[in-house]
Subunit: 262 residues, 2 copies
Amino acid sequence: MEIVLLGSGNVATHLATALNEAGYRIVQLYSRTMRNAELLASKVGAEPVERVDTRYRAADFYIFSVKDAALPEIVSQMPPTTGIWVHTAGSVPLSALSPHKERGVLYPLQTFSKERELDLRDIPFFIEGESSATIAMLNELVKSISEKVFLLSGDKRRLLHLAAVFASNFTNHMYTLASEIMDEEGLQFFLLHPLIAETAAKAMTMDPHAAQTGPALRFDEEVIKKHLDLLSDPMKKELYALLSKSIHKRSSEQCVGRNYRP
Amino acid sequence: MEIVLLGSGNVATHLATALNEAGYRIVQLYSRTMRNAELLASKVGAEPVERVDTRYRAADFYIFSVKDAALPEIVSQMPPTTGIWVHTAGSVPLSALSPHKERGVLYPLQTFSKERELDLRDIPFFIEGESSATIAMLNELVKSISEKVFLLSGDKRRLLHLAAVFASNFTNHMYTLASEIMDEEGLQFFLLHPLIAETAAKAMTMDPHAAQTGPALRFDEEVIKKHLDLLSDPMKKELYALLSKSIHKRSSEQCVGRNYRP
């Protein structure tokens, strides 16, 4: 089975390595930056290219793993080929790969960084395909690298991606803001590690609504005011206020009849 | 060594159990709700009371583990005693326990829920005391339940607490919002578990600034717009926009000279 991979970012890097290990042959690897194409291509024995070219028109899969915004241009440059065209984006519809007929999506629900090794086996992949034949082929491809393959429509995938932005991108931003506050005081970030680990562990064993703790939940106005006074960065201040409001809103909705203010 | 514990909330519950197991005798347990006092007192063999009383005036420690807002009233009701008075709050100064002279703070940096068992050994505790004698006594007390005891001033503790609100309370709220989005679509929250676990694991092995991924970092305007359109809840929409702005601000500051817009 031959694959042409278009992209050399975080997702492309992890996919290339895993598919190569699963026995697929990555024949060509495209990146708009030759250095990136070469770097990844050398790891998986592919030919690096910095322009979409016409040499491989009979691969089994053409996997587009590029920034959403870059996809239309790359698709428009593609020659007609056999095989299945697949993209890996959460919020891009299947139709973005038209006019090619045999098209599909494989969306891994994970945060990828090149520097960090990951076992893809435990990562849920969500696939979508134009036809049942495409879906069957995609299913086989993805099953070779993950044990968790789900069929999901594009409409649901968009919402899954949106939930993932909250659960991961925004969560990591909370860690970032915490690390900045610690840095400013000369407090080491590792002191927060047990707290970060336990907060994540709780959310995986309890309903996160029930796991919520802290001044905003208790509507502890004094602490909230003190914290706002301590924050000199206007953006952190605005975020603190809005997040506290949002936490408190849920707690007061759940606690009608208790001693909470509206 | 005898302890009077005032409070029956999440922190008080975990402290009572751990101190009891470490061989301290909790002689009396106060809660303004008798049922809560009884529930926790029965676990550690203490006498439950729903009013601050004057029977135990010669305990070694009086630990106040109540809501910040409730502390002043309880302190004002206390009779003169021997021993050390201690509170457990991140954002309350040591002086809140005056006029008692031998006073201190023990602040565990963790998120506690009664339902969830926790090994306190790995949890960092931050202590503060009015005198070196008090600090030595407190250090001994806390070392009996945790291996990580640090001396920290009240000013730094407030900032640590503020960082913890971001790293834990606000992070958990992100999980909550993600779970609501999943629920609305009939998607099960457990699908996000590997993502949540990896996001936390990354922040503990990489600088969270470097670990950031997602549409806001890439300034992928189309995805951001789509996501905002998908969110019908005005509060989620406002949070999404503000968090994306904050993430993008950092990325553009780090990427001056790259192809990012200001």
